[in-house]
């Protein structure tokens, strides 16, 4: 009996494995002193508007007009040779700028990644980075196609996923989820009598 008692309390005292506990969400912290951010600040003093770190990933906000310069510096002097991803987020109705254009780049020397974020108002042009990384060509075309963000002196800024005659930019928040009438033949939803969605039965 005794060792059985001693076994159970000892089990309680041992820390429960992490997947037993309630998950602890990562918190965003200010990352001005982060080495990667300090490197950029050293090169281009007033390029860093804000820097946050969330779940170990550093995001540096950069003014829109200096993005070409910062990307060139990142690639040439900070050795970020590999642009992993370029995308955009539509924060509709945000006063300081509707769109976020995100550049996510990787450095082979010490395998670190950095995210540059540019705030853009609707209809404002941002410089294209195709001259810095050739891979950005199609990514910028997709961002233009999906969000309507224009990239200055991009080699051939045209739609890539939707067809030429398509009007509207699907991934904008004001684009209806059911899609717009493009004149294409769509098979109508025909339900048998009494069938079909029940009024007010949303999928939320």
């Amino acid at each position: 009996m005794a060792e059985q008692d001693s076994a159970t309390p000892q089990a309680q005292a041992a820390p429960k494995p992490p997947w037993e506990e309630k998950p602890v969400a990562p918190q965003p912290q200010d990352a001005r002193e982060h080495p990667q951010v300090r490197e950029i600040a050293a090169l281009l003093p007033d390029a860093v508007v804000a820097a946050t770190e969330f779940a170990g990933q550093v995001t540096v906000a950069v003014p829109a007009e200096r993005i070409g310069e910062v990307c060139r510096a990142c690639k040439d002097r900070l050795d970020y040779k590999f642009l992993v991803d370029l995308t955009a987020v539509d924060w509709q109705g945000r006063p300081e700028g509707r769109f976020d254009v995100i550049y996510w780049m990787h450095r082979f020397s010490d395998s670190r990644r950095l995210r540059l974020k540019v705030l853009l108002a609707d209809g404002v042009e941002v410089a294209s980075v195709t001259s810095v990384w050739k891979v950005a060509n199609w990514m910028e075309r997709e961002v233009f196609d999906m969000f309507g963000i224009y990239f200055a002196n991009h080699p051939n800024l045209e739609r890539i996923l939707t067809w030429e005659g398509f009007s509207g930019h699907p991934l904008r928040k004001d684009f209806p989820i059911e899609g717009i009438d493009t004149g294409a033949a769509i098979y109508p939803d025909v339900y048998p009598p009494g069938g079909g969605p029940v009024a007010g039965e949303g999928g939320e």
């Binding site: 998950p23 990562p26 990933q57 996510w104 891979v135 067809w163």
Partner: protein
């Protein structure tokens, strides 16, 4: 491809423009390539995509986090397990959940089996495009066994939907590990047979050596990842650089090619299949027991924030960029598909080749249009 002026062999070369696809038998889906030819030589190959665009990222914005998983199956429809692994990994890092080791090991087994299955499809269709008909049937016979293992585990063969945020929905059925072990043990012999058919076959070598060459610097410049990057000699694999799911506890090597042509990528993928076999064997031996699901609330509401997480898919780095505004639906869920970026290099790789080589280059890039068009 404005920033690549088309190379004009001689001033008065009259060009012939052929539209290649989208219903062409060798374009692995609905890809259309506008090829400007001078006789047989390719002056410029401009891929046109978008025929399979279903607006997946817009649909993501109205789904719950667990509801997005079936949609990821349909992006790279030949590698559903690694798609799920990517998405689920992203949301878990957003929530700060650590997955129980048994679930992580099951995920690694499913992902590596998926890598073998995806490389099998690549080998079958690639050899078929270059003319060798039989490997297609031998390879797909092995793939049937993998699909049966998937069907036994999660009920579906292709669109698996076999992972949930926080772990695995169900545990392995009994006897599954034995059947999986039996399959994985006999696979290297099968791979050796396929290699006997192709690797030192002079016709295969003539059709693949020196075709679609891309140097290491260009590969990085064009953002290639996965076998196309490793084929050019860059030793880079997400499973080693940013290990996820206990990949750091498993030994395997990363095969790299030398000259970055189709033959090297072929060797890299064949070697990767063997390495996957090694990984699955080690995972089966070390499979810990315990729960398969972490403590995750029924309704998943991650905190406000943004995160990028990527897995090493069979085609390359498959990344998910999730932006959450605290609600049950992702505010923005962007997918960084490997095939979309790899396909962009098609023009620079197929410059100056013949029409027949365009097929070989499309095959060696191993593109899947579901992932490109999303």
């Amino acid at each position: 491809m404005g920033n690549l002026e088309p190379v004009k062999p001689f001033p008065d070369s009259e060009e012939m423009e052929i539209s290649f696809g989208p219903q062409h038998p060798a374009t692995h889906g609905v890809l259309r390539v506008l090829v400007r030819l001078d006789g047989e030589r390719i002056i410029e190959a401009k891929p046109i995509i978008g025929y399979l665009h279903r607006g997946t990222e817009k649909i993501f914005e109205r789904e719950t986090y667990n509801g997005t998983i079936p949609h990821t199956d349909r992006m790279d429809y030949t590698a559903a397990a690694t798609n799920n692994q990517g998405l689920v990994g992203t949301v878990e890092r957003l929530l700060g959940v650590t997955v129980p080791p048994r679930a992580a090991y099951i995920r690694m087994i499913l992902a590596e089996l998926q890598r073998i299955a995806s490389h099998i499809i690549w080998l079958g269709t690639h050899a078929l495009d270059i003319g060798a008909q039989s490997p297609f049937f031998y390879t797909f016979q092995e793939r049937e066994t993998i699909l049966d293992l998937y069907e036994e585990y999660c009920g579906a063969r292709l669109t698996l939907n076999c992972m949930r945020v926080g772990g695995q929905p169900f545990d392995l059925p009994e006897g599954w590990t034995g059947r999986c072990r039996a399959f994985v043990d006999q696979l290297p012999a099968r791979i050796a047979e396929w290699e006997a058919l192709l690797t030192n076959n002079r016709i295969w070598k003539k059709r693949t050596i020196g075709v679609g060459v891309i140097s290491a610097a260009d590969a990085i410049e064009w953002g290639l990842t996965g076998p196309p990057l490793r084929g050019s000699g860059v030793k880079w694999d997400i499973r080693k650089v940013f290990p996820y799911d206990h990949y750091d506890e498993v030994e395997f090597e990363i095969p790299t090619g030398a000259s970055g042509d189709t033959y090297d990528r072929y060797l890299v993928r064949m070697e990767e299949m063997r390495q996957s076999v090694r990984i699955v064997t080690q995972c089966l031996e070390r499979l810990p027991d315990g729960p398969v699901m972490a403590k995750v609330p029924k309704v998943i509401k991650p905190p406000k924030g943004e995160i990028y997480f990527s897995v090493e898919g069979p085609k390359g780095e498959l990344g998910y960029y999730a932006v959450s505004d605290g609600s049950t639906n992702p505010y923005r869920l962007h997918v960084r598909p490997a095939c979309f970026v790899n396909l962009q290099a098609l023009d620079v790789m197929s410059r100056g080749l013949l029409v027949a080589d365009l097929i070989a280059v499309i095959g060696t890039l191993d593109i899947v249009l579901g992932e490109i068009d999303r």
